[in-house]
């Protein structure tokens, strides 16, 4: 029996949790507000008891694959284990009960955590100043690009474009557009890395920034990074770093030392905060000294042992959201860094790379490895050899669900046909990695011998393969009472 929607449960007039009685019965709504301002029809909301609520959402939750129940090697997403201590401590009432407009002296503890986390992130990335305001990686990209725009404008430069490689995350070009820049995509070289010659050809006085990820989305370290930074800076452009892949680098090398001027972090990737099924995340943006004046307001400042929110920053880009940042995510990242320390973070990156290389090495025979360079924390395989059996990468992904594994990222990066992007992370045991490898090898055999098994997969999930074409054509985007 399929799970019903909450609207299909309950009965008319059934009530859920108890609400205190009205002790102001003497006040009459009609006397408080003119009738013309009142709504005419009550919204249709569920009419269910508390037990129905808990059963319904508990049962729905059980339909999800998640890190707590399944290996989740989703490339570019760093689906590492989320320490329970972060969940426990970030929900302490000393954090959850703070109003954003309280005077600074009442919130010194929380400002201290935000300030210190900013310092730690600057140290890990090799930067001088930071904002914790952005809500996600893409939000950080927008913030970083607006900072770059403000920097150029104060120098009296009107620049129009940002150069990105064709292997970039889709958010990169979209953020460029949002920041008022034209995104110029350059073709990657034969080795999957930035093609220096093409970059040089595109770089000019119109270039505001070059936006890259290192390691790139193939999981390959851009070994020419210093040269890239040099030629970027030579035309007065800045180097923007997408920090999605920072899990490969902590304690090994720092983006700031490679020549990046701006970097966004993803606290929900690298720093073990959960993804929440799609947010809230947190995308702090760190910058070099000369970009500090442009950070969004407020900036947390420490003076004489006191923390304050500083709004007096005339060159600031403004704000990208209300208030200051996603606090529980920030607290979780703070706790993670405090528990790992310098050596621990280095070991995180070492083991993230070790695990990825181990998995890719064992799978590169059965699948194709389109760019044969040593992967860092993730690697990209191709399933194109199975096309002749009518099997696509999507089918491989769906079949993995039957084996109890969340699939890798598929069809990304776009420069790899039938791409499978695998990021195991450092938190997985060798037994889990081996079991995943065995499943992938088994599926590679099935693709040849019993392709139908893949094409009709998944077989064991709560629903079978879903018709996305029908969804896009019919556009049923809300529940309605069909009579």
């Amino acid at each position: 029996m399929a799970e019903k929607l909450i609207f299909e449960l309950g009965r008319i007039d059934r009530e859920g949790v108890s609400i205190p009685p009205d002790d102001l019965e003497s006040l009459n709504i009609d006397e408080l507000i003119p009738e013309e301002l009142l709504r005419k029809r009550d919204p249709t909301l569920p009419e269910v008891s508390e037990v129905e609520v808990i059963r319904h959402y508990t049962r729905l939750s059980q339909l999800n694959f998640c890190v707590d129940t399944h290996f989740y090697p989703l490339g570019s997403c760093t689906m590492k284990y989320n320490p329970r201590i972060g969940e426990k401590l970030s929900t302490l009432e000393g954090f959850t009960s703070l109003h954003p407009y309280e005077p600074d002296e009442l919130v010194q503890g929380v400002l201290k955590i935000m300030f210190d986390l900013g310092q730690y992130l600057c140290e890990i990335g090799g930067f001088d100043a930071i904002t914790l305001q952005p809500s996600a990686g893409a939000h950080g990209e927008l913030t970083g690009l607006l900072i770059i725009r403000a920097y150029h404008e104060t120098k009296g430069r009107k620049r129009s474009k940002v150069i990105i490689p064709d292997s970039a995350h889709g958010t990169n070009p979209a953020s460029c557009t949002l920041a008022g820049y034209k995104a110029i995509e350059i073709k990657s070289g034969k080795d999957g890395c930035i093609d220096l010659k093409r970059l040089q050809e595109e770089l000019d006085e119109e270039t505001a920034a070059v936006m890259i990820t290192n390691p790139n989305t193939l999981g390959i370290f851009e070994e020419e990074i210093l040269r890239i930074a040099e030629i970027t800076h030579s035309v007065g452009a800045l180097l923007y770093g997408d920090g999605a892949n920072l899990n490969a680098l902590m304690g090994i090398t720092r983006p700031g030392d490679m020549g990046f001027d701006v970097l966004h972090f993803n606290l929900h990737k690298t720093f073990a905060a959960p993804h929440g099924g799609g947010g809230p995340g947190s995308g702090p943006v760190a910058v070099k000294k000369e970009l500090e004046p442009f950070l969004p307001v407020p900036v947390i400042v420490k003076k004489d042992g006191k923390y304050t929110l500083d709004y007096n920053r005339p060159l600031s880009i403004g704000k990208v959201k209300s208030f200051y940042g996603n606090l529980p995510v920030i607290i979780k990242a703070y706790i993670y860094i405090r528990m790992m320390g310098a050596q621990g973070l280095k070991r995180v990156s070492e083991n993230a790379v070790l695990n990825a290389r181990y998995v890719i090495n064992r799978l590169k025979g059965a699948f194709d490895l389109p760019y044969n360079k040593p992967p860092m924390h993730e690697g990209v395989l191709s399933g194109k050899k199975f096309r002749e059996y009518g099997v696509r990468t999507l089918d491989i992904a769906k079949r993995l669900l039957d084996y109890g594994f969340h699939p890798p990222t598929i069809y990304f990066p776009l420069i790899v046909e039938e791409a499978l992007m695998i990021e195991p992370t450092e938190t997985e045991t060798k037994e889990t990695l081996d079991a995943f490898i065995e499943a992938m090898l088994k599926i590679a055999e099935e693709a040849v011998k019993t392709p139908e098994l893949l094409k009709s997969a998944p077989h064991t999930t709560p629903v079978k393969r879903l018709d996305e074409v029908k969804a896009a054509k019919e556009l049923k985007l809300r529940w309605k009472e069909y009579k």
Binding site: E468, V469, A472, K473
Partner: protein, 126 residues
């Protein structure tokens, strides 16, 4: 498979010209590559367009492809049926799945397009 009487662009559009008006659609090969088409964004009638300008968008669930006009001119008619039945492009790409009609400004531009044979070579050799 590939109709002989049409002209083709490298971007997989076809055009058929009658009395100075060209009917434009996408090829069988292009619709196969896109998969099930779920939405078509049509141009507005009367719009003046330049050769190779993006004038329409054809969407599947996983891709959105710009449709470029193979010639310059003025859009004079659009296939409204695609609004309710975008899958006509899958079912009958050279017939009921046409996308727009354009009044040609420079008929000479047709000479720069591919013949059926040339187009066939393009898609088989890649």
């Amino acid at each position: 498979m590939i109709p002989k009487d049409l002209k083709y662009s490298k971007e997989h559009e076809w055009i058929k010209v009658e009395n100075g008006v060209g009917t434009v659609g996408i090829t069988q090969y292009a619709q196969e590559q896109l998969g099930d088409i779920v939405f078509v964004e049509l141009p507005s009638i009367g719009r003046e367009v330049e050769k190779m300008e993006a004038v329409a968008v054809v969407e599947s669930v996983k891709a959105a492809s710009d449709i470029y006009t193979p010639v310059s001119g003025k859009i004079v008619e659009i296939n409204e049926e695609l609004n309710s039945s975008p899958n006509l492009i899958n079912e009958d790409p050279y017939g009921k799945g046409w996308i727009f009609k354009i009044e040609l400004k420079e008929p000479k531009e047709l000479d720069e397009l591919l013949s059926a044979e040339e187009y066939e070579r393009l898609i088989t050799e890649g």
